[in-house]
C-alpha cells in the first residue's frame, strides 16, 4: 500500500533521499536547485524510483526535465497524484 501523497510526506521522502546522492543536508530546501545540490539526471532517475516505490507515482523523463528545484519535484509528485 503506497503512502498517502501529501506535500509533507513527499517532502520528507525527498529530503531523506537527497543526502544519499551526496547532497549536503544543510543545503536542502524547497528553493534549492538540483544543480546547486549537484544532483543530476542519474540521481533524479533514482529519486523517481524511490518516489514511485513510496507513493506509486510515476515520473517520466519529460517530467524530470521540467523540474529545477526541490520544491518543483515535490509539487509535481503531489500534482501527479491528484
Amino acid at each position: 500500500m503506497a503512502t498517502a501523497v501529501t506535500p509533507e510526506a513527499v517532502e520528507k521522502v525527498v529530503y531523506d533521499a537527497l543526502p544519499q546522492f551526496g547532497a549536503d543536508p544543510s543545503d536542502i530546501s524547497r528553493e534549492a536547485t538540483f544543480e546547486d545540490l549537484d544532483v543530476d539526471s542519474l540521481d533524479l532517475a533514482e529519486l523517481s524510483q524511490i518516489i514511485e516505490d513510496e507513493f506509486g507515482v510515476q515520473l517520466k523523463g519529460d517530467d524530470v526535465g521540467q523540474i529545477k528545484t526541490v520544491g518543483d519535484a515535490i509539487d509535481l509528485v503531489v500534482k501527479r497524484a491528484e
Partner: protein, 399 residues
C-alpha cells in the same frame, strides 16, 4: 621513426595496500597480501579518497582505478594542471570482468524485488569501460578512451595500446592501466567450476605443488607520455616502455598453447619492437599464475625465446604475493617491474620451494635479492596472458 615513450607516474591499489611503492616495498620484503585463499584490498576504504557521490557512482573496480589514477597523476606532476591539451591525453583502463559486483547485486534485486527496484546505475557502473570513462571524467582527459577487455591480459594491453597511440602521434600522453574487483560468489564459483582456482588457497607459481590460481583484486594506473614532450616540461622520468608484443594463441578458450607458442611470439615481438636481444634482458616478471598449465607453458615459452640465457635471468611472479588480479594484473606487474628495476632488485616468487621437472629457471625462490645487471641497461619483460588466448608482453626499462 616512432616516438619514444616514458612512464612518469605510477599508482596502485593492491592486496598489499594502497600505493605503488607499498606494493613494491611489501613484496620485496616478502609480505603476502593473500589471506584465507584470496587477495583482498583490505586496507582500501573508498571514502578515504572519494566523495559520497563518487563512491555511489563507481563500482569497486572503478573506485580502485580512480584512486590509483590520482596517485599516478600526482607523481607525474599533473595534480593541479594537465601539461598538454586535454584532447591529446587519452584514458585506457582495461578489465577482465568489469563491474560484476554491481551486476550480481542488481540481478538479485531483480529476482527478489522485481524489475522496478533495479538501480538505474546498474549499467553505467557494471560496464567494462566504466573505469576508463570515470578516470577520464575525474581528470578531464578528452583524448581517446576505451577499455581493453582481454581477461588477464587487459592491463598489459591497455599500456601497449597507450604506447601505440603516443608512438603514432595520436596522443601526447595516456593514463593507462587495469582494474578488477571480481571477488563475488558468482565469479568464485565459476572459476572453481573451471578447476582454475587453487584448492589449497596458496599461490605458488612454478612450484611442483601449485594447484591453481588465487583470486585477487585491485588496480594499477600509469601516466605514459611522449618522451620529448615529457622532457620539455621537465618531468621526472621513471622508466620507458621500449617494446610491446601482442599475439593470440587461436588454440583454446581457456588453456594456453602447450608449447607456449603464442606467448613466445609475443615476447619475441616485444624484444624486436624494442630493438633488443634476449641477452639484454635482466629480469622477467612472469605471468606466473600458479596454474599447472600456465607455468609450464610460460617456462617453455621463456626457454624458446631466451635460448641460452634463459637460465641466467631471474624470473618471478607478483601473483605469489597478491594472487591473480585478472584484468589488473598486467598493469600492476608493469608497475612492480619498473620499481624493481629502479631499485635493482629481483623480487621473489614467494612460496616457491619444490622444483618440477622441466621447470628449472631461476624463479627467485622465497626472498628478494639484488639484481646484478653488470653494466647492462635495466631492462625487463612483463608477461600477461588471458583466457581467450590473448598474449601481451611489455619490454620495460627503468630510467
Amino acid at each position: 621513426m616512432k616516438r619514444e615513450v616514458v612512464i612518469t607516474g605510477l599508482g596502485a591499489v593492491t592486496p598489499l595496500g594502497v600505493g605503488a611503492r607499498t606494493l613494491h616495498e611489501r613484496w620485496i620484503a616478502g609480505a603476502s597480501g593473500i589471506e584465507d585463499g584470496e587477495g583482498v584490498c583490505t586496507e582500501f576504504d573508498p571514502t578515504d579518497f572519494l566523495s559520497v557521490k563518487e563512491v555511489r557512482r563507481a563500482d569497486r573496480f572503478t573506485q580502485f582505478a580512480l584512486v590509483a589514477s590520482d596517485e599516478a597523476l600526482a607523481e607525474a606532476g599533473w595534480a593541479d594542471e594537465l601539461p598538454y591539451e586535454a584532447s591529446r591525453i587519452g584514458s585506457i583502463i582495461g578489465t577482465g570482468i568489469g563491474g560484476i559486483g554491481t551486476l550480481t547485486h542488481n540481478h538479485q534485486v531483480l529476482l527478489e524485488e522485481g524489475p522496478k527496484k533495479v538501480s538505474p546505475l546498474s549499467i553505467p557502473l557494471m560496464m567494462g569501460n566504466a573505469g576508463s570513462g570515470a578516470v577520464a571524467m575525474r581528470h578531464k582527459l578528452k583524448g581517446p578512451s576505451f577499455a581493453p577487455l582481454s581477461a588477464c591480459a587487459a592491463g598489459a594491453h591497455a599500456i601497449g595500446e597507450a604506447v601505440g597511440l603516443i608512438e603514432s602521434g595520436r596522443a601526447d600522453a595516456v593514463v593507462a592501466g587495469g582494474s578488477e574487483a571480481s571477488l563475488v560468489p558468482l565469479a568464485r564459483a565459476a572459476f572453481a567450476a573451471l578447476d582454475a582456482l587453487s584448492d589449497s588457497g596458496i599461490s605458488r607459481p612454478f612450484d611442483a605443488r601449485r594447484d591453481g590460481f588465487v583470486m585477487g583484486e585491485g588496480a594499477a594506473v600509469l601516466v605514459i607520455e611522449d618522451a620529448e614532450k615529457a622532457r620539455e616540461r621537465g618531468a621526472n622520468v621513471l622508466g620507458y616502455v621500449r617494446g610491446y608484443g601482442a599475439t593470440t594463441d587461436a588454440y583454446h578458450l581457456t588453456a594456453p598453447d602447450k608449447e607456449g607458442a603464442g606467448a613466445a611470439e609475443a615476447m619475441r615481438i616485444a624484444l624486436a619492437d624494442a630493438n633488443l636481444e634476449p641477452a639484454d634482458v635482466v629480469y622477467i616478471n612472469a605471468h606466473g599464475t600458479s596454474t599447472p598449465l600456465n607455468d609450464r607453458a610460460e617456462t617453455k615459452a621463456l626457454k624458446t625465446v631466451l635460448g641460452d640465457v634463459a637460465h641466467m635471468i631471474p624470473v618471478s611472479s607478483t601473483k605469489s604475493a597478491i594472487g591473480h588480479l585478472l584484468g589488473a594484473a598486467g598493469a600492476v606487474e608493469t608497475t612492480a617491474t619498473i620499481l624493481a628495476l629502479r631499485d635493482r632488485i629481483a623480487p621473489p616468487t614467494l612460496g616457491y620451494e619444490e622444483e618440477e621437472e622441466g621447470l628449472d629457471l631461476d624463479y627467485v625462490p622465497g626472498k628478494a635479492r639484488p639484481l646484478e645487471i653488470d653494466g647492462k641497461r635495466p631492462i625487463a619483460l612483463s608477461n600477461a596472458f588471458g583466457f581467450g588466448g590473448h598474449n601481451a608482453v611489455l619490454c620495460l626499462e627503468a630510467a
